[in-house]
């Protein structure tokens, strides 16, 4: 099934610069319906607001709710559990990757990353576009 580039994407990061970078890279890929959140708590509120999201791209290290905790909440929520979730983070230890995988992450990008990597991981999660 073709990927609907009109899907709504939620990007979550406590650094405004990173939100801006990811937003611009997503726009280059043709995704223009982009919402932003600066921590896991506000992201969870948006996800539970009733808006249909097709993808979450989230940082890990945020307060008061980390990206890992957000992922667990999403996977524990019956309405959200199938939502594709890509972690984009500077946390690069194997235990981080394992913890994220065990929590149900769809894919994992380590910072700093490039546009090609972002696209490749989105394709692996959503399908070709």
């Amino acid at each position: 099934m073709a990927v609907d580039k009109n899907m709504r994407v939620l990007i979550v990061d406590d650094y405004k610069t990173m939100l801006r970078i990811i937003r611009n890279l997503l726009r280059q890929l043709g995704f223009n319906n982009i919402d932003e959140a600066t921590d896991g708590s506000s992201a969870l509120q948006q996800l539970r607001s009733g808006t249909q999201y097709g993808l979450v791209i989230s940082d890990w290290n945020m307060e008061p709710m980390t990206g890992l905790q957000l992922l667990r909440e999403v996977r524990a929520d019956a309405k959200l559990k199938a939502l594709p979730f890509i972690m984009v983070t500077a946390e690069s230890k194997s235990e981080n990757v394992i913890a994220a995988k065990e929590a149900g992450v769809s894919n994992y990008i380590v910072k700093p990353f490039n546009a090609e990597t972002l696209k490749a991981k989105m394709v692996s999660v959503l399908g070709d576009f």
Partner: protein, 279 residues
């Protein structure tokens, strides 16, 4: 006998317990011959020494023992030694005297530290400077991205060939700007370390300040803040929220390491391989 290595004795009940057991063991060795039967010394001070140890041991679970009490015990032990000393006794005496000297000099050095300077000037200044760095790099990065977005808007009016070149350049600029995120996280790590140092300086001064030591004790003006910071560190999770539905994971904090040094970090290829191993 194993040489004693003096080390900082903080007023923590568990450590006091270890010290009291050591003290009793030494006193016992000094009062008994190797056959374990007849006493070697009949010094009343040494008899009183054992009672004092017992009294201290009964208090240790509820009362933090001051360094003075520890030093008093050590001094009593030294003062109780008399008569001809064997080679082992002399060695033990020297070790105990060294321990007492260490406690005295460590206490004097720590009292000489001005915790006010550390807490109110050096550490805040360092933290402020680091915060300023993060803000400055964020502003600069924002300015670069403003201009880059302007260029991206113009790309649509360029020839196809130039558009591709410009688009690639714009993408490269966006990718490079992610440095600000990484540097910001590294600096945040340093600021947390500074705060941790501040808490430990307070704890060290509190442990070694003599009774009525106005300089050290009075300068710890906000014990609740220090204790609050200590509790925050020890509580784990740094106050992060999580619903009851998914439960609390005390070990999540150990996963928050931030950017790693180049030699320690896993690259994207390594991470992809690790993820694939789950399939």
């Amino acid at each position: 006998m194993t040489p004693i290595t003096p080390h900082c004795q903080q007023s923590h009940p568990a450590q006091q317990g270890v010290f009291l057991k050591w003290g009793r063991a030494m006193a016992s060795q000094m009062t008994r011959a190797e056959d374990g039967r007849r006493p070697l010394h009949t010094n009343p001070l040494l008899d009183g020494f054992d009672e004092r140890l017992t009294a201290l041991a009964s208090r240790q679970e509820t009362v933090e023992m001051s360094v003075e009490a520890v030093a008093d015990v050590v001094q009593a032990l030294i003062g109780s030694l008399e008569g001809d000393l064997q080679a082992d006794d002399l060695h033990l005496y020297n070790e105990v005297e060294g321990l007492a000297d260490f406690i005295r000099s460590a206490r004097a050095e720590i009292v000489a530290i001005n915790p006010t300077d550390i807490r109110e000037e050096f550490l805040p200044t360092a933290a402020d400077e680091l915060d300023a760095i993060v803000q400055a790099t964020e502003q600069a990065t924002g300015a670069i991205m403003d201009v880059t977005e302007m260029i991206e808007d113009v790309i649509q009016r360029a020839t196809p060939e130039d558009a591709e070149t410009l688009q690639n350049a714009v993408t490269a600029i966006y990718e490079a700007c992610s440095f600000q995120d990484i540097t910001g996280q590294r600096i945040t790590k340093v600021v947390r370390m500074l705060k941790s140092i501040e808490v430990r300086v307070d704890a060290l001064v509190a442990a070694f300040a003599p009774k009525g030591g106005l300089r050290a004790a009075a300068l710890i003006t906000n014990e609740s803040t220090s204790q609050e910071a200590l509790n925050l560190q020890q509580a784990g999770n740094f106050g992060r929220t999580q619903s009851q539905a998914v439960g609390d994971r005390p070990d999540d904090n150990s996963l928050l390491n931030g950017p790693q040094a180049n030699g320690d970090a896993m690259g994207q290829d390594d991470i992809d391989a690790l993820l694939k191993s789950f399939d």
